[in-house]
Symmetry: D2
């Protein structure tokens, strides 16, 4: 950390900062300059509130240097993390497509989707039994009955299940059925939930919050990892900005910095990112080109009859076309589809 | 709802939209114009996904008309809501200051703060026993022990308690102690939690999420009210924007539209809104002038030693000065301080 | 346009709106519904301020239907626009790379860059003689001397010149030298400048403003086209959001809606979009995959000695590597590099 | 400036940074720590591109310390600036209301407005002869004829004129008539225009750009001041965010940091900030409470017939009511209305 003093700061002001730093059990390093003094701080600064120094007299600014995440950081863990599942492995060099309906609507449609996916080489199906909905009057998912349907789909077809957990009440039930437990954007900073899945025996797919910085996102991954669960897959799904031509602003340019700062794999959800099915295929291709390790995509046997998010779901024909395009791009991008 | 067709849309395109609207159990009203056709839709549109129509051939745009919130809407409930507490009442014409430390740190500091507040006529104290922290390595609050301290503070001083609930596990304990249950910004769309406090016998202070539109915020209030708990106080605490001179961008201009669209009272939290104690008093005065019904403010006996958020906490002297300024403004603004 | 009335709106309120619409020389179409009345409006609504109706008593909301841009709209002009230059053509099916240094620094470096590009099949070079700089103390470009250098570079190598125009004073000089006149993000709504280049005989590359919606961007293109210059190339270069891991947030998901709503070609600038050279190649590939018609990329013979924007410039070796990757992607994406 | 190295950075990486810093004619100060090395940099860093260092091998991050603005900075100029006009003075302790129509529509309405304002003690009138409009098809202002009308209004009533300058072509004409030259939000980074008004003999009212940080805004003020014109009044008018309940998000919390970092006066424009006349009075009062030095407000004799921005204009009755409220607040806020 670095404390930058005002040009007019007095010697007392500087001494006060030095004393406060010591009181925080940290080491101050005053560096007088031509114009002003700066004070470097070393020690374990993770646990302190840096803004405490910012309001002392004579302080112009406080600058944090050390990243607060450790387990999620590439500095601490140079090698890429590969998340291993019974059905496949997610990580650099591969490209994993996770597809399926927004929500479980019936056993028939889930089975039909699972069989369709397995026949095309897609090994992971997404589908929500519990749905976070903006309105209390909207369809909230089939709940436990939906989980049972997903369980049967895996049993019959062998497909891996990615499904969302909304609260700790249903954690055991979801953990039982899911191959990957999905934490939604609205719960990215639901810390009680993050602690719970930090104890889970299944990998976690952690969506980025709508207003989350990269640092906050990695800190949420850190919550999961601090609980002992190192199998975290990040998922970019669009952030909220002034831009109104798409449902959210899909921040594909977060992919390269994620790869630089962290060792965790990252997938992209162009369905929520754009909110319109016509825009999903180009953004899916762009995600692969940007370096993502996979996709989370909404498909539906009959999108226009979907109970939720139909407008952003691809039908099977459009999805097959996209799969073909992804396969054609995988080779020049040196990726293996799985 | 209004479906706007392309200039080039064919008669078949229009028929297809009309049929789909009927299939959704709604009534279509085609309106041919000189340039293009628009199709009005009437019926209960709350339960359908409007984007389903948006992707049909020939559709240019889909425009929603009806607001999805009902119980929180002023259209359904013309009169202002007053939230009545044992200690005071929150609503238009009054101005309620809620003050206290970010977190419960010890019985001594809580008692000292409660006595200080009661002596100055402040009837509600905020303090967190459970703290949502970005980092898993930061102080997470005293938990149940903190709740007990708050309970004793009320017993001894008579002050009302506003304290945050983070998860359903601790809902009974918090409901027992709190006079107002606070739902934090990060949990504004934690729907399981909203449903739980919808069943609580205590009023709910619902903070606006960092990236929440006014409509989403009112929909979250609707979740609480749909559960039967009509005592909701909204709290603006800053939204996330590109602007980096303050911790968040305090959106004071949300106050007049809240008053127009809803009957619920609204308070403002300038401490989180600005993140810097120097900026808190001017924004507190501005909140009153903008029409807010009260404030949520962080104060601390010794801000520079606070375990969390010290930099945005006022000390007692600065808070007393602010109280005096608020009282001086209350008269010309036709508000009664309580 | 559609005026939505309050549930409680009186018959007088509705009559007042109807009268005001007529006073605006438009036609009102009242549509009584079960809950409320809506009033459709037809006629040429482009010239009126819709908000005038919004503040009448009983009005809940005013909804605009017709897009205000015409010449830039695909509805008015179904076929894609191809911008034809002496050196190449920009438009769908092709992929045009425009590369070069941020600013003209010397004749030697410009010639070296132009020769390098022509030898690799790149036919357009970007380089600024006039530089918009945030600080008045930063290098402001070589000005007219820089333009002469660019002119000589074209003469000797045949390369096309893309260079920025900052103000009407230098319009004649820039129009003389440029093959494409660049309008920067900060000038996207400098309407005097837009009107001037609407009279130019050279195509215009119009960068999106940092906070511009797609509609505002197309309206700025409309300014140029309304002056008679139909050769407009749009350029996405990142928008400003809360997200701080990159210099700007490159909004690649604007590409599909641009293609849907407009017939104009669009290129992407990943150099300004990301601000860091390491992130440029993945985002350049992603731009092609998302459907862009080309790239605007900063390269420099010695990026670490550049007078401006060195940190986001590729050196020649990195650029050649990227060109190879783009060529490998062009085939599966059915694009011809030019 | 501070260069933070990676934990794994080699001695060669550090030497390379040190050498590059020297090549930039700056002085490096390496500070080895337990975990990593940081390198402090002193010297005149204003003219260099810091990102040049950011891309060297082994560099984790580059942190800028010195503010790039000087003339606008309170560090360089401790005393508040008062902008003196023939009619009044703008600066702390006073509160200056500037009111008038969006655009000059006729001599009659301008005279009527000027007389109304002077009779109520308002000494400055705003009105645009040149209007920046998003659409090329909207009313663009009366131009030079409008300026003549403003000139006559001042002659007859003595009122001071605040009017917008859009381009250098009309600079002489506007400078002749205006008492304060207004630079609009869209031109905040039109550097040619800023340089021109830096040479003007009249004060400049500089609106904040829709996506401008405080630092960029002060840098634009610096452009004007670097030209020799120290009479700059800042004007907050709302920034662009995801929040859609108002036309823009009025960032009142910028007022305290402006006061801390700069000595320049600041006024607030709640008309553009909110875009709806109902919301203007509460935000005007809030601006005064937040510490602003004045207001820029749109009023119109007949708002519903205004040629531009009628929906955000107050009529004379509403404005008088607001003036009364402002006067009532001025006393407890220790401000003198002028």
């Amino acid at each position: 950390m670095l404390v930058v003093m005002h040009k007019q700061a007095s010697a007392e002001d500087i001494d006060r900062v030095v004393a406060e730093v010591k009181r925080m059990n940290l080491t101050p390093h005053p560096m007088p300059g031509a114009l002003r003094t700066a004070i470097g701080i070393t020690g374990n600064t993770g646990a302190v509130d840096p803004r405490r120094l910012e309001v002392l007299p004579g302080v112009l600014e406080l600058i944090r240097v050390t990243k607060p995440y450790k387990l999620a950081s590439r500095e601490m863990h140079l090698d890429d993390t590969y998340v291993k599942l019974p059905q496949t492995t997610i990580g650099p060099g591969t490209f994993t497509v996770i597809a399926g309906p927004c929500s479980v609507e019936s056993e028939e449609m889930i089975l039909r989707t699972a069989e369709f996916l397995m026949a095309r080489g897609v090994r992971l199906m997404r589908a929500g039994a519990f749905k976070p909905r903006t309105s209390p009057y909207s369809f909230q998912g089939m709940g436990l009955a939906g989980l049972k349907i997903l369980d049967r789909a895996r049993e019959r077809t062998g497909i891996g299940i990615v499904t969302e957990l909304l609260d700790t009440e249903n954690a055991d039930a979801v953990e039982e059925v899911a191959d990957i437990i999905q934490i939604g954007a609205r719960n990215m900073q639901n810390f009680s939930l993050l602690k719970r899945v930090g104890k889970a025996r299944k990998p976690v797919l952690l969506k980025r919050g709508m207003a989350a910085t990269l640092e906050e996102w990695l800190m949420s991954a850190e919550y999961v990892m601090a609980g002992g669960n190192y199998n975290v897959v990040l998922c970019e799904r669009g952030v909220r900005t002034f831009s109104d031509h798409s449902r959210n602003t899909l921040d594909l340019s977060v992919v390269p910095p994620v790869k630089k700062l962290s060792h965790l794999p990252i997938v992209v959800d162009p369905s929520h990112g754009t909110g319109k099915r016509d825009y999903v295929p180009p953004m899916a291709l762009a995600a692969m080109a940007a370096g993502a390790d996979g996709l989370l995509i909404e498909i539906h046997p009959e999108p226009d009859r979907a109970l939720s998010d139909g407008a952003q779901s691809l039908d099977f024909t459009a999805f097959e076309r996209l799969l073909g395009q992804l396969r054609a791009l995988a080779k020049p991008l040196e990726r293996t589809m799985n």
